[in-house]
């Protein structure tokens, strides 16, 4: 399946782009499984603090990711 991935803040430096399509071999994965897929693709995500949102709602690890959704990788910001 294909999902759209959007990265925010400094995570854009890790993924290399603010918005891109991500191809996943399964037809549905949990958010926990998605994190493992992302870690394999972007090893620099290891140890980074961020939340995952699906279609603009923050989700828990058990949430099921379905084809066509928009995934956001959201870190906390620091500057003021």
């Amino acid at each position: 399946m294909q999902v759209q991935l959007m990265s925010y803040g400094a995570l854009t430096d890790v993924t290399g782009s603010e918005v891109f399509e991500l191809e996943i071999s399964q037809q549905s994965v949990t958010v926990a499984e998605l994190k493992l897929i992302l870690l394999a693709r972007y090893p620099a995500l290891e140890g980074k603090t961020f939340r995952i949102a699906v279609n603009e709602r923050f989700v828990v690890d058990e949430f099921e990711v379905l084809p066509g959704v928009i995934i956001a990788l959201m870190p906390p910001f620091s500057g003021g």
């Binding site: 709602r57 923050f58 989700v59 956001a72 003021g80």
Partner: protein
């Protein structure tokens, strides 16, 4: 509360709004707002709140103005370099709006003084640039049952949210209404920062403006949104960024409101 004789003239542009009016102006006048951090975000927050007639401002910052602040901290001028930010800000507010009571604290917010300082305010605005201060504000506000307005920037992006506000829940989240007093059991607090990010990132993991750079106008935009949320909270307006986090991107001007309440199904 006694309003100054010229208030109808001074606040005419906002008094004419149905959402403000005389009652709203009195609420603004009675409000006590604490601004922690008088940098890029804190400057526009203080300036807009003072201009709108928010009656009591508590300013907390230990820093002095430096030359590198002037690029984005627009309350300060060259002659202020070396002066305490809270004192320059107090002088500014007194010139801008003499009716406003300003109290200033040059100590850093700490676990020791947070409870005493928070007792001086109804709502806190986080304009700090580090996670230690932000988690301290969050935990102290949670303990004191006070709402706080989060704002932060990273290069060309910003985040804003209102944490720990009293809300009356309804089946439809969009119909959530803000309440000022907890008088019945259906009243709940909106999510706080630890509900979103339970623990601070590792040392050096997330850069601040000194490390990653920022264009001053972004601090103005995000600080202005924080000021707007403070005024909406005081006025009891709908649409507060409670249980939501607004993100703004200054390159493509996209704004996204993320729903913070997790949905497991």
């Amino acid at each position: 509360m006694e309003m100054e004789p010229d208030f109808l003239d001074r606040y005419q542009r906002q008094l004419m709004l149905g959402e403000v009016g005389l009652g709203g102006q009195r609420a603004l006048r009675a409000a006590r707002v604490m601004v922690v951090g008088l940098g890029g975000l804190g400057c526009p927050v203080v300036q807009y709140l003072a201009a709108a007639g928010v009656g009591n401002l508590v300013l907390v910052d230990a820093d002095r103005v430096s030359l590198s602040n002037l690029q984005r901290q627009i309350l300060y001028t060259q002659k202020d370099v070396g002066e305490l930010k809270v004192e320059v800000a107090r002088d500014f507010v007194e010139r801008q709006n003499a009716q406003i009571q300003v109290s200033v604290y040059t100590e850093m917010l700490s676990a020791e003084n947070a409870t005493d300082l928070l007792a001086l305010a109804d709502i806190v605005v986080d304009c700090t640039d580090n996670f230690a201060a932000r988690y301290l504000i969050n935990d102290a506000c949670a303990a004191a049952n006070k709402p706080w307005v989060y704002g932060s920037i990273a290069k060309f992006e910003g985040q804003v949210a209102v944490f720990n506000a009293l809300m009356k829940s309804s089946a439809d989240e969009s119909q959530e209404i803000l309440v000022s007093q907890s008088s019945d059991e259906s009243v709940i607090r909106s999510l706080n920062y630890r509900d979103v990010f339970p623990n601070p990132p590792g040392e050096g993991e997330i850069q601040n403006c000194a490390e990653s750079g920022v264009l001053g106008a972004l601090a103005g935009i995000i600080g202005s949104i924080q000021g707007m949320e403070v005024m909406k909270w005081i006025l009891g307006l709908k649409g507060l960024l409670a249980n939501q986090m607004l993100t703004y991107n200054a390159i493509n001007h996209s704004m996204v409101k993320f729903q913070l309440r997790e949905n497991a199904d």
